[in-house]
Symmetry: C2
Subunit: 374 residues, 2 copies
């Protein structure tokens, strides 16, 4: 299951997992190395390359061609690009098409794309004949930094995002930062928000590094991107290794996401995930400051970086719909308000109990300020 | 996670699993002990009792009442009885209803019913917010002996049975043989076929014991049922402990199932699972004899017991449709013919390689003999 250094490899992180650890390799030009990785982690298996309709012609087809040229049996499967595709319906269709194409227990899914693809194709792999391996090939900053690492897979349902899914650690993750060149600057920004988050909850130095290299990453610079992705993956891997199934510590990765998901849903997903989480982090930091949990000035420091990443976020929808989503999300998660708060930049608040309960009026107040900013 | 002896307990088997082992408790009157078990394996969790429309009034409601009386928060969810409900659609509906009812990560599914329920509710639990525990309470002979032990969950799709699912070991299994009293004799027979199978592949003495106690179990006798269920679960648990994810040895549990599934599908599921597997075992034993792998006379000895369990099976549908299903099943499973063959009663053939490939004409010939019996 191991393989030597790849051409263009900038570094790798080994992620621990109960069902067996896996490497996350980051570098430039790594798409050409996928056949070597597939031979190491999925020898002899038939390969189902899953991409969305945008990424298939850009990268998915090339990955499939490379594998075919290396003598592997490959088929490609695509689905319409966009968060609206992250559904049980798409999951069913992809599964049925793989079955019709004769894929069986000797399959391996190769997920080439952004976070929707890594989550959706990962869930297909998790449940296909009760589970086949998945090789994650993230092609967006967001997927590299967040979605493809940690084994979470799943789809959205009416009641909320990611409420149906499985923990299914990948066989390996190959993050080729060259693919980020095809990404619009605004999409690079969406992913960078998660890097800022990793710094905010875990490592002040990383927070400052991201701030310093922000422009280079937004411009698609390969070296800066590889550095930031690697450092972020290392931070996330450290958390996942200590709490794979989110019994405790892993919750801190949800900083900004409780409010963020509500803003996303309230905008009917017009708001990007990163922008929503950026606004969510500011809101949850402000909540923390008002509760006396978070050091004063933290929100301002967060804002000064996030503003350079995603600009001023103007949430669409209404505060009412965001509020109603928050309460249905709360219900879906067992009636517990779950807010991750910061102690300061570089440290989440709480030892052991990482989820804080927050009085409803305070949430309402901060939420309203997002929609009616001065 | 452990609990002391239950009132009415005849015995228990501890099943090893990578994600943590679990007890299978067998006895008479154990439904009344579910609150104790739930307190031990799912303390504080909200309980979602899932049953089909037939079993809910018979047993599911009683289990829910007992839990409620013990101070637990409980809701019941049902679906139309029958194999036709074992679909992604039912899984979606049950999931959404649980979400609407406010179930969250602090849930535990309590599956009360036959094999369709344990498989379907188990898959709901496996994917609900990426996995919540399931307490399996099998109420059919088939589910006690087979479906609820070993962690396999899943649903049927057009391409075949159980092609979508997950390995999700239960928190515990409580098999109350008193519930078998409400089962028609023909349904008890369906489950007994799996006990005969366990003897045929693993233990000649168990094969003979099942033969000797057959009438008592078919009549619903609690003591005989508990003995046969316990011995069968012990045999299956031994296999599952050595190969949880069916990389090798666990395949032997599929004896009779390759042909059996084809007969079931060809009859549009009019043929019961046990009857289909019984005919499948005879067919696969005959194949083994004709290939010189299985000792001569094995099929006759199998038939003499199985005839007393399910009578003479007259498969409905046609040999053509069964054959076409076999080839689509073969395709779905990666193009490999997978037949488990016996060496003799009490021993599956093959050391290491448990799946045998069989020439198509031989399969066709034996299949035709099932449909056009002398």
């Amino acid at each position: 299951m191991t393989f030597g250094p790849l051409h263009g490899e900038a570094g790798r992180v080994d992620v621990a997992a109960a069902a067996g650890g896996y490497p996350v390799v980051v570098g430039s030009g790594l798409l050409d190395e996928i056949p070597r990785v597939a031979d190491a982690v999925a020898p002899g298996r038939r390969l189902a390359v899953i991409s969305d309709s945008t990424v298939l012609p850009l990268h998915g087809a090339r990955v499939a061609e490379g594998l075919r040229a290396a003598g592997r049996e490959v088929a490609t499967f695509d689905f319409p690009a966009g968060e609206a595709s992250k559904t049980r319906r798409s999951w069913s269709v992809l599964t049925d098409r793989m079955l019709e194409a004769g894929f069986g227990r000797d399959s391996c899914v190769v997920a080439v794309g952004g976070g929707v693809t890594t989550d959706l194709a990962g869930f297909v792999a998790a449940t296909f004949l009760r589970g086949v391996p998945v090789l994650q090939v993230p092609t967006s900053t967001l997927a590299m930094i967040d979605a493809s690492v940690g084994g979470k897979t799943g789809v959205d349902v009416r009641a909320g995002k990611n409420l149906v899914g499985a923990f299914h650690p990948p066989a390996a993750v190959v993050a080729d930062v060259q693919t980020l060149e095809t990404l619009p600057r605004s999409e690079r920004a969406q992913g960078l928000v998660e890097a800022v988050k990793h710094g905010a909850i875990l490592d002040e130095r990383h927070f400052d590094t991201v701030g310093a290299r922000l422009e280079a990453v937004l411009a698609g610079d390969a070296e800066a991107s590889a550095d930031v992705v690697l450092a972020s993956v290392r931070l996330k891997a450290g958390v996942v290794a200590r709490d794979e199934f989110e019994g405790g510590l892993r919750q801190i990765l949800n900083f900004g996401h409780t409010v963020g998901h509500a803003l996303e849903a309230a905008s009917a997903y017009a708001l990007g995930h990163g922008s929503a989480v950026a606004a969510g982090m500011l809101a949850e930091s402000r909540i923390g400051e008002r509760m006396g949990v978070t050091a004063q000035g933290t929100t301002e420091r967060l804002a000064s970086v996030l503003r350079r990443v995603v600009g001023d976020v103007e949430p669409s929808g209404t505060a009412e719909s965001a509020r109603s989503y928050l309460s249905s999300d709360k219900k879906a998660r067992g009636g517990q308000a779950r807010y991750v708060l910061l102690e300061r930049i570089g440290k989440a608040a709480g030892e052991g109990g990482w989820s804080h309960s927050v009085p409803d009026p305070l949430v309402d107040d901060v939420l309203a300020s997002l929609y009616f900013r001065p």
